[in-house]
Symmetry: D2
């Protein structure tokens, strides 16, 4: 058990919300992958809060690449990306140090780390750490794109409002890449924002469902037992704060229906074997079948709300009440989607590098 | 990527449906865990098909423990459990060798193994391999029970019919342990069986939702990033054939609701810190909070149906039609539930042995 | 920590000397590797004791392949090889159950497994378990040979008598493949055997140095930190019972000399970059340089001797004396060399499959 | 294969000699371990070059702890230590960019990374990276010391001159802790220094043998197959640049002798079971027996020498000659010994945390 994921690509996370920095260590990237700092910055900006529906903390995320990149390309040795913490207002948290916030990890951290944890702003559990995943994910997304593999995530639903279904995946993924609020149906997106602002005013919070699509994955990737594509992706995706469910293809919607409706019959598309439908989300027996991957994440409402809540004081061991002030997001789903893209890309990189070798994403001699 | 799972307990699976045997290798079991072969047999019998809703293949699963057990206890060295295959009728499969069954792993196996795979009866992808997981899971369940940790799974819904919710978890888990068809509400269970028989007669198949509860888990187990309890459990649980979704607590049901409803406020229960509700399924920030774990699995309808389906001949690369004969389950959810118990127990063993050391489950000197 | 080794090829060992079987699980073998049972048998025969210098236990090692092989080729799914134990005379050991044999693992096993260990014949620590490594190693050796990579080990010295140095490596490796007592200089070999028989008569035991050569390895395999070729090979090779030292190239002989003598200058051999000398044993910075790998293992004298030794009774916790009877080898170095070949081949397979992908050793479609 | 080591403690290295920084990520440290920055600095100073026998590069190694430490103790979350590179004179290397230095990793890096590697100053292969290991090792050494486990390394021999054998281990380890040139016999140490200066003047280089002792290790730690104490230690220790051999206890010296001399008979020392001798270096069957661990490392002469050497130009693919200028150590063994201490401590931490649980080194509540 550890804060590291992956076999061929090892993904390790470090840092605390109000410590010196958050960061990511990627070990196993092929030599020769272009590293475009502007693209990393653009991806980070998609994760950054914006407008009334997000916390007021507006860090520019000035990442630094400490190792593994030389003259604009990965070297093949470990890449360490550090994002220094600059705007930390720790006094916001000191007053409620021992009041475990419901729905947060304060109590479980206390049980696990015996009070030695850096509790400020959620410490190592803070969503801020996902910035490091996004920075590293940008490199993986670049590498996948070179092989014709594209990843995109939309907010399928939020606060009870549904986006339209994915349509032309290539076009939808392209459109999503530049959308600050990733909803395919603009009108539905506008309604979500209005509803989220309402919820924010009520001091409450909302969740939703993210749906990720991946096109261009070759068939035959994944393992039948344990290291299934579903197992590996879900393992990593459950690390995104607030994710409480992961499903592939139709997932829970298939559960109460009939086999004759969901079997995805095979047919030919020119020379290529494809399935007529894609209820299984591009995976059979844990292995890719060449169809688009379809993944849905249940994102619970952010636990930081402004209503008074019952809790226990961890130090005095007495029941208490908690009113949270400070900076918090009434929703994080719109920020989480680029994290979903990033984590998905890192896991697929791992799978493909294992399948095809460590140089699979190398562009040839320098 | 491999057919092995776990850090402190390493769980490796082997075997093909129509090969010599299926089996499991467990490395990391503490010395001194009682191994009760009758209990293993009883667990295997819960996985075995029964009645009209299951395949006619009725193997007694005569397992053999090849290593790691001496005088009725684990020795602390690797335990290999082998279940020989005895009733294999391979000719059932030869005729349709190259007709990829929709919804199955035939095509993905072809892409991955280039035709060298043992295709007979699904080969390494066969649900039969879960028998080995059940045999090994029985040892893990025994070890957990010694620490007051109990695991139970019911069919929350099947073919559109709902079981009642979990109530008194200790009593429900106890009741489920001996139920061949694990539905808490007997009347709902009877309706499910009737519906399943109907579906079988139509040559179709059904899925459903399994819900697993775990009581007695200590707080503070799991890691914040990647090796979250959700991540580890989902990684392993997605290996159970037909599972296409995993969620914890209310999962997808929380996604479109408000934070104020799902935060599980803390309170005292005597000396113990508990939560008033358990929407998060016993896990905050990826770490156990001492409340019961609640896990739901989406089980898709079994892909083996008797209706004619479109497919492609992998050898001739031409479109074709497939009618399946032979032995198949119109539903496997009632058999999968003991697999869910087993996999859950193995993963929790791994987590606890990592947290508390390799002797945590040792009963003291021989 | 576990009884499993490898990343792309996972190698797991199980079994006890006097239990039901010993065995090996190999996960990660490419599909399509030919599995020649006669070759496996031949390799096993090289490990089997022979003549006066070896224990009288003469098992035919009738291995069974339980999974992962179909119609003479690996399928790509886990290969489990089981070697049943047939000639177990456990009563030989019962009398001295609690008298820890000096130099053996009896006392450390007692400390680790708290008395639950299967102590008979060394249990899980027995050299017998290496038979499983040899069976599995035969498959890895076949796969390597298909890529032009050959492995061979000679007894560089034994009981104080030196074999000649390696000369023409291709010819030497070829010759060693069929030698029951792997000494390149026949006259030195005869002297070793005479000396070993003498030592056996004195109730004593001998060790020696094994030297393994590998030709045909491509340059650029291995990692700079931690997963160096030296680190991975030594990690696995130290599992061979009685190995207490591992060195590469000139190893300890370089330590007290000058840099100018050992730097292996580069030159061209036609188009190929080679080194003029090979003091570094084919590895620079932990990575292969395309020259032959050269590995030496220090094999300590087998601890089973017939002289009376001081020990402690683990049960009564009193000092005691031990006289060993039963079957024991006065030397195992001549049997260990095929184990060294096998372990080396398995580790190199792991390295190459990681470098070039999981299909690297696949021979193409079935 | 990767730049990460360890199961319960994950040790990952990053950085290049002339990049922005070198660093270490430690994941799995218990919460509550005191982190004494002065002690880290003192350890780093032991690794720093000094006097005529070392390179002129004199960096103060101003490390920064980016995460995982709060108010003077580890938090239990990943600790990232960064050591910025400040005195980098890259132009020293540009002229000989494509002339592979014999004995170095230039050629193997070229083969592995296809020219994308940061070649300046050895890049990721530079001994400079061991500074990060020393900084992290200091935390592991502190944690071990709290459990009464002490680690010390002396230069057993260098340039052909022998130090005295270890005597009273507790006293010797204590004395070594503060010795800049770690030789127990002061007179031998003085002769080594004189000889090294001579060798430096000749433009040549020297190696030697390091011997590490560990006292206070409990019995019963390690695994019988693959994750033996010897296997794990050697795996990590071979990463120290220039190490070409690792042996335990008498190692290669036992190989040509008799079993009756090396079996380490058991006896009682009060209540404790001990061995009368310690030829096996505290390890039987891969598992600690409670006696001191004794480890020897063969350190080859540093490959950077000032004599003209034959090589090949990697770009033009022509034979060439190389004369090295710039800063280089004529010997690194006196600097490597604190690296040996550090790596040993990190590996033992990993073993003990796996054996006794993740909190084993926690000092209790904050």
């Amino acid at each position: 058990m550890k804060n590291t994921f992956g076999t061929s690509l090892s993904i390790s996370i470090f840092g605390e919300s109000h410590g010196e920095a958050v960061g990511l260590l990627l070990d196993g990237l092929a030599p020769g992958i272009p590293v475009d700092e502007d693209y990393i910055r653009a991806q980070l900006s998609l994760r950054r809060p914006a407008g009334r529906i997000s916390t007021a903390r507006q860090e520019p995320d000035p990442f630094r690449i400490l190792s593994g990149v030389y003259e604009g390309h990965t070297t093949g040795t470990p890449v360490c990306i550090m994002i220094p913490n600059t705007q930390t207002r720790s006094k916001d948290y000191a007053a409620t140090r021992f009041l475990a916030r419901p729905g947060h990890a304060d109590y479980t951290a206390w049980c696990k780390y015996h009070g030695f944890e850096d509790f400020r702003g959620g410490g190592h559990f803070s969503g801020r750490i996902t910035a490091a995943l996004v920075a590293g994910g940008a490199i993986a997304l670049t590498a996948l794109a070179q092989k014709g593999i594209r990843v995109g995530t939309h907010i399928r639903s939020c606060a009870g409002i549904r986006d339209r279904d994915f349509g032309d995946l290539a076009a939808d993924i392209e459109a999503l890449a530049h959308m600050p609020f990733a909803v395919l149906d603009a009108e539905a997106g506008a309604r979500m924002l209005t509803r989220l602002e309402q919820i924010a005013e009520e001091g409450d919070s909302a969740g939703g469902v993210l749906e990720t699509a991946v096109i261009g994955m070759p068939a035959g990737v994944g393992e039948p037992w344990f290291d299934t594509v579903e197992g590996l992706l879900s393992h990593a995706l459950f690390s995104i704060p607030a994710v409480k469910g992961v499903q592939f293809g139709e997932g829970f919607d298939m559960a109460d229906d009939l086999g004759s409706r969901f079997n995805d019959p095979f047919r030919l598309d020119g020379e290529r074997i494809v399935t007529a439908t894609n209820h299984n989300g591009g995976i059979n027996g844990g292995i890719t079948n060449g169809m688009p991957l379809l993944i849905r994440l249940a994102v619970k409402p952010t636990p930081s709300i402004y209503k008074t809540q019952d809790t226990v004081d961890l130090q005095t061991h007495e029941e208490a009440q908690l009113s949270i002030h400070g900076r918090h997001d009434p929703a994080i789903i719109h920020r989480a989607r680029v994290v979903a893209d990033s984590v998905t890309a890192l896991v697929l990189y791992d799978l493909l590098a294992g399948r095809y070798g460590t140089d699979h994403f190398c562009k040839g001699e320098a």
